[in-house]
Symmetry: C2
Subunit: 431 residues, 2 copies
């Protein structure tokens, strides 16, 4: 028969692919723990209305949605924030705020395939709930930068661009743009951030009822700095939190990484304050990570009003950036020690030696078939063992065991009582 294929947009992780995934995941885990975050997770699928409640019925186009055998409408999760907000809502006021939570969910989006985008992917999510102050926003921007640094990236590779939904709303209102049009204008600017402002002028003119209005909006968005914006809008309420944020960014030592960019509006409707995105400096990829403040979501699900801010970063774009940087993630040895049997008819002695080493915490294997020493040495090479230990043969009569360094070729004879200790010492020396 023809060999079955995997579904489009999904990945198989053979052990040599898994090394990459584990490299990214373990780096994410370390950063989260260093920054004082705790892990949570939710179900892989949720009731459909959890997602439509947050994002509108439109979202269903992007979902793997289906009815289960009892007719319940469910969907594979396209993001984990709805599950997070549902979980927090369910516990009411019994959770001790602030929450500092992270998760590394597998997510599913039925989207057109393109570079840096798959239908099944993993994401780091970090969220702080219960803090209305802009300090939480700064802490998460710092965590996002630290996550990138832990993977070996610097300010030469990426930057964080920060804007504010409250500020945008204030500017739109001052320009006389009706509130019910804001979401559509945000969506246009999110497109514009990718396609360039020229591309969206026509659509803006249509939305706002004329070219002059579109020009005016684009002019406001062309502002170069936060200072310039403050000078132009002396009465603004929404500029102050941004100024405070950049003061904190300075305290975090991240001036080289973070810049104000009014045009970072983020497409999603649910943001309520600061928003930010991470981009690679060449801008050759989709955004690396993005997030912002969403103070109304827990309340939307029936929970207590809970200020919240968070960000997410996907594994696909990061893996591409690592490969573009020629990062090498070596595949570690499958076992540290390979036990080789000499002239034995059964693997009995190899089993006993293997178990003695494993009992001492030494990662060990042996040939599971009766084959000659040459073939066993080849198996030892294949599993990238650092040492070979030989059982049976001449040495056994003198109660001795031979150890071989697989790379250097050096060999030692030790008394069998000293073997385990010697192996542990040699492995420690090699590290």
């Amino acid at each position: 028969m023809q060999i079955p294929s995997s579904p489009k947009g999904t990945r198989d992780f053979y052990p040599d692919d898994m090394v990459w995934r584990e490299h990214i995941f373990s780096s994410w885990e370390s950063t989260c723990r260093l920054y004082g975050f705790e892990k949570y997770d939710g179900p892989m699928f949720e009731h459909l209305e959890l997602f439509t409640k947050k994002s509108g019925d439109e979202i269903e186009k992007q979902l793997y949605a289906f009815a289960d055998k009892a007719g319940r409408h469910v969907a594979l999760r396209p993001e984990i924030t709805p599950s997070l907000a549902r979980m927090v809502a369910a516990r009411g006021t019994s959770l001790k705020m602030p929450l500092r939570w992270y998760s590394i969910p597998t997510l599913f989006r039925y989207e057109r395939m393109q570079k840096g985008r798959l239908r099944e992917f993993a994401q780091l999510n970090m969220d702080i709930l219960g803090v209305a102050d802009v300090s939480a926003d700064a802490e998460l921007i710092a965590a996002a930068v630290a996550m990138m640094q832990a993977l070996g990236f610097t300010h030469e590779d990426f930057s964080v661009r920060v804007s504010s939904r409250s500020l945008l709303e204030e500017l739109f209102v001052s320009m006389g743009i009706a509130r019910e049009k804001h979401a559509a204008v945000y969506a246009e600017f999110d497109k514009g951030a990718k396609a360039g402002p020229g591309e969206i002028h026509g659509e803006l003119a249509r939305l706002l009822g004329g070219k002059a209005a579109a020009d005016k909006v684009l002019d406001v968005f062309a502002v170069g700095s936060l200072d310039e914006l403050r000078n132009r809008n002396p009465g603004s309420q929404a500029v102050a939190p941004l100024v405070e944020l950049f003061g904190l960014i300075d305290a975090y030592g991240l001036d080289d990484y973070v810049a104000f960019d009014l045009g970072i509006v983020r497409g999603l409707a649910y943001y309520t304050g600061i928003v930010f995105e991470l981009f690679d400096k060449k801008r050759s990829l989709r955004s690396i990570a993005g997030g912002g403040r969403y103070d109304r979501l827990v309340g939307l699900y029936g929970g207590p009003d809970t200020p919240a801010v968070g960000f997410a970063a996907g594994d696909v774009v990061l893996a591409e950036m690592l490969k573009a940087k020629n990062v090498v993630v070596p595949r570690p040895p499958r076992s540290d020690v390979f036990v080789v049997s000499i002239g034995e008819q059964t693997p009995r002695k190899a089993v006993i030696m293997t178990q003695a080493l494993r009992k001492a915490g030494v990662r060990t294997e042996f040939a599971l078939r009766e084959v000659g020493v040459g073939k066993q040495m080849k198996l030892a090479h294949n599993c990238r063992a650092r040492l070979a230990v030989f059982v049976g043969g001449e040495e056994e009569k003198g109660r001795q065991v031979r150890i071989r360094d697989m790379d250097a070729g050096e060999e030692w004879l030790v008394s069998d009582g000293a073997l385990v200790e010697t192996v542990r010492d040699k492995l420690l020396q090699q590290q």
Copy 2:
């Protein structure tokens, strides 16, 4: 609005639940690495026919199956072995045998809910491919026992029961049971292992065409030991591998754990040799783990003939066993150090101190809101910090910093240049 619920049979993992999941997963990971296994993973959903090809159309009743937006029939994976076999088949002969692979997949089965059974759960899978010798079966039984020991269980808590599909087939053939009835008889015995042999007599009589035939089969199954079986069936070909297996089990030092039990037939049709299951000694739960040899699956998917043996263990039953044993898994500190600001108007100094500690690898957080020292100490307790470090206040003028041991209440003053080093020392001492 009413707070949305999670789908039936799924779990939310709040951080205090996650501590349990991580305890089980990290124990699984350690055992796998100690035994020389490498991690792999596949997609969360597969084309439906991958599962029906292995298990027949019947399996669809247990699946979360649906058509995607392009009309492709897919299903959430109910097990990972089909993905494993597909991946191995796809690489043909380019993979270096033996493979020693493990995975910790999330799996989905639309089943009636009962104790120890959920619709979404995690499973440890360990498999050896490319070895026809019974040594591979013994190695996996040893790994299954080691996995249980790593979680704190002993031979007083569980046992491994071993049988052989080849032996059963041989016995059935010698009793004149037609081959096409074997699968149905296996399924009855799998029920019988749970319900008791009396329960299945009627069904067996129906299957085999008479009470006498059913009596005969049940009599054969009542055999007490491998020796007895060998004496009764001197011409058996299938007993020898079992004898060899138990010789190896002895070399592994696992006589206390492993017993022969002809009645362990395992329901699944695809096993071809040794089969085994782990049960808790009280038999109050479903089987803890189970596995066996399946030499024909990779070939079934169009790959090269590849002998294979593996087992799987679920997280739900194990978590219940841990709780029944009153195992306590403490929730670790969210941060090791909490930075407390004294008399500050902004968190600037706390940010700088926090970043200095994080840079040295110390897990640190601070209050993200401007609150008094008493409230900050409460936050430090809530996150279970081991040390508090105070910035600002009187000590600052003398370029000193105060450190407090949160449990013991003891305090020290150190010069600010020595702070990071002192904090690291104190944390190491506490461990």
